[in-house]
Symmetry: C2
Subunit: 370 residues, 2 copies
């Protein structure tokens, strides 16, 4: 647990001087003040993260898809068989999933980190940790265990397993940043992981389980009721107030790893674009461990899954994209990446009123024609 605490301690506040520079520069660009709305605030945040105005381009960008299975699958919380987790990992490695297609368009790297898939992946899914078919998509084996335990019967993870998964996320963030990555995006794959997300969101925000629990990738009424019941039974078992104990009790291995990725990104002063409800649940763990790290987060989108809006509200994050997506994988984060990069381009490349000879009504004495 030393790496975790060390990383949390390394997270420092955003750079106030760079943020002030960004606000002042935004006011001089050839547009009415505030006319680029959320993109202006985003450019200020990104300047604060990098400690520079304009900040470096958020390139290269890398999606990390953490994959894991969930013991609670046994409670009938989803219509998808558990094998689909491993099948989709193979699909990611082959470059055929939505996140691969979207990442290719956005110029982002995709890698898959197995932190707990309940199957042996390497032979079925292609070469471990190497480039596949000319793409940079990779499969990294960091399996902590073959799926979590069934949280309705016992804690999903031991505290040691949860910490191990968090620290894997921290290490992956460090490796990516050392490899030159300047923007991290969260991805996830794990059949039944919206159930664990609902439990984390209800536990960390206090909202009722029925409010935190959505239909995932398409649950019918009966499945949804089983999902709510499973979350309620898991939360009925006292875990204590300690964030890592709550994570271990009802979370998933991918939630733990994503929390680590966020902490690691923040410690390295690199922005992290959050995908949907799984990332939102992981970010609530981060809020409890190290609230400062949330300053390094950008909410890529708001998913259609009920608990995600609850999580975003609690995190105080405004999503960039809001298109009723409910796929996961990192798809919503990747769709937001061009908006993140555009906000930086505007700050760095637009002309100022002075340089372009445009009259600024907010500074009539400076550039007003006679």
């Amino acid at each position: 647990v030393e790496l975790l605490y060390e990383t949390a301690r390394a997270v420092s506040p955003l750079d106030a001087a760079a943020m002030a520079d960004a606000r002042s520069r935004q006011a001089r660009l050839t547009k009415p003040p505030g006319a680029l709305g959320v993109l202006e605030e985003l450019s200020v945040q990104l300047s604060g993260i990098a400690g520079a105005c304009p900040p470096p381009r958020a390139e290269p960008a890398a999606v990390v898809v953490f994959a894991a299975d969930h013991g609670v699958h046994a409670q009938g919380v989803t219509g998808w068989p558990q094998e689909v987790t491993a099948q989709m990992v193979a699909n990611f490695v082959a470059g055929g999933a939505a996140v691969n297609v979207l990442a290719r368009r956005a110029g982002a790297d995709v890698s898959v980190v197995d932190v707990g898939v309940a199957a042996d992946l390497a032979p079925a899914a292609g070469p471990v940790d190497g480039p596949v078919d000319g793409q940079r998509d990779r499969l990294v084996d960091r399996k902590v265990r073959r799926g979590t335990r069934d949280m309705t019967l016992e804690p999903a993870m031991t505290r040691a397993e949860a910490v191990e998964a968090v620290e894997i996320g921290i290490e992956v963030a460090r490796e990516r940043v050392e490899g030159g990555v300047r923007c991290l995006l969260t991805g996830d794959m794990g059949i039944a992981n919206t159930t664990a997300s609902a439990a984390l969101i209800s536990a960390f925000t206090g909202v009722d389980v029925t409010e935190a629990t959505g239909r995932g990738t398409g649950a019918d009424d009966a499945t949804w009721r089983r999902k709510v019941s499973a979350v309620e039974r898991a939360l009925a078992r006292p875990a204590g107030p300690e964030p890592l104990a709550v994570l271990a009790s009802v979370g998933g291995l991918e939630h733990a790893a994503l929390a680590g990725l966020i902490l690691g990104a923040a410690a390295h002063r690199v922005p992290v674009v959050l995908d949907g409800v799984i990332a939102g649940a992981a970010a609530l763990v981060v809020r409890a461990l190290c609230p400062q790290a949330l300053d390094y987060c950008v909410a890529g989108h708001r998913s259609a899954e009920a608990g995600h809006a609850v999580a975003l509200d609690a995190l105080g994050l405004r999503p960039l994209v809001d298109l009723d997506l409910r796929l996961g994988e990192g798809s919503g984060a990747v769709l937001a990446l061009p908006l993140v990069q555009s906000s930086i381009a505007v700050l760095g490349e637009m002309a100022t009123f002075d340089s372009a000879g445009v009259t600024d009504k907010t500074q009539p004495s400076k550039t007003q024609p006679s």
Copy 2:
């Protein structure tokens, strides 16, 4: 007016067979049905527009910024001096405005068409109709007149002037499509043009002027009241029910040209991504002239300007981006372009359940493992 009517008659329904193919293909892709939300509907629409599934990539894409001035500026409806229209055209030509920066990032072409700037542009703004500084940004002189008349005193345009501007838009669409463009984006520049937009929106939807009138690029309370009063006075003068008469009475030359661009795009079966409130007002003119053409429109974003939400509701369009932008120029349309292109990439490039060997719970008999 022959070209206008001919173009409207050339607009045909979306291709139902291609749309059915797209829906069926979406259901076979390796994701839960509907999990990509609005992007799936968009891919179906784009297939219907092109008459092909998957549709061709929406590349090259071109933003056309129609620039014009407004006689109603004399009523004190904005704090910005009228010269800013011409100054911003020069900024576009030099590549320093927000739309240039965003279009470079998105890989889109920018051209500026002067349909009514109240100044002589060519000497001040650079070479006419040629590439500037290695960029493709161009200035095209199609000036109908030096700004509209003051709509509070008399019709802003004669019917002939309005028709001329609409037909310029149609011709520009044809030229761009003949030049290989496969996606058009609307842009606009014209100090005071949110006032004319409010008048068009109120006239075509029937909402109260106060609901249709926003603060543009930053009007204070007194300016906003003058803006509302100007719109009310203009609308008090009967224009008759004929859409072109309403357009001539209270519209702008850029609104007319944008209506033409939309009609032309639809006639050539090319999608047109609408920017903000100016494009929304122009699309209401199109709805009155040729409602079928709206099937070829994609709402790029919802601007913070009050009347835009009213226009989008009336048009039945859901915006892709919603980030409190209120800049115009085409900035919101360009920010939506990666989403449009991503929806096509997903349809064309994702693996199917069969090809990837992933179990499809919606088709248990086909791929369910034993």
